[in-house]
Symmetry: C2
Subunit: 151 residues, 2 copies
């Protein structure tokens, strides 16, 4: 039994590589970029989330009143780049989530190098982010966000 | 990367150990017991289902019009007892699905030995089956089924 491969398989089903984009007029670019890796579970499976958090040794578990679930989440860009991304490079996702991971990785690398403060790179980032989690709902339309990039 | 551990992790999130119970007046006991192991996925993840089916070398993939998903399913009691159950004994489910698996295993052993044709054993089986997939919907209430055991 290999814990890392188990976590990779569990993530293929239940994990989320997410990039949230928000309008923030106070930021230089006008847009805030927040990548995160998360796994949500019913309370019954809280112990497994703790096992995963111990393995990664980063992130936190929060209770979400919205859906009455517990969510393990890594938001720190440093932890994402130094721990989470190398983990899934070694423990490859064997299904369609691998595409999400590859796009997520591109976004994290841009953010980690602060390249998203460059307008051209930010446009590229937004396009990649909209390919992620294709079926998920987005607060803003892609064109709307692109329009808001402060020029 | 360990494929078996990956499959176990994926099953923890997406797999289903299910026992369906149906009234069948033509059967001696009045009740049909059908255990199955399955994983449902969107078409986008069909290739992963094929990888899993190849690993197990049993079962079949079907398209379900109901939810527009593909379902990999093992129904043969022999394959369940000889392939699926030993697999998850070696590649332990690390979360709450392990409970489902343990109950599923008990049901499969009863069915494999044809002990469910015995009324007492069938009552025991029904009680175990109702502990499985606690949140899932059941066609019949437990008491209703127990009442139908032909005496």
């Amino acid at each position: 039994m290999n814990l890392d491969s188990f976590i990779s398989g569990f993530t293929e089903g239940e994990g989320c590589f997410c990039v949230s984009l928000n309008l923030r007029s106070k930021l230089n670019t006008g847009i805030e970029v927040r990548p995160s890796f998360s796994i949500s579970q019913n309370k019954r499976n809280l112990q497994l989330l703790k096992t995963i958090m111990e393995r990664f040794n980063c992130g936190a578990i929060r209770f979400s009143r919205n859906d009455q679930n517990y969510k393990y989440e890594v938001r720190s860009i440093k932890d994402l780049v130094k721990i989470i991304i190398p983990f899934f490079e070694t423990n490859t996702l064997l299904g369609v989530k691998e595409n999400d991971f590859q796009n997520f990785k591109k976004v994290c690398e841009i953010v980690y190098q602060n390249l998203h403060l460059n307008k051209e790179k930010l446009r590229e980032l937004i396009e990649i982010a909209y390919r992620l989690n294709g079926s998920g709902k987005r607060k803003y339309k892609q064109e709307e966000l692109l329009k808001h990039i402060v020029s």
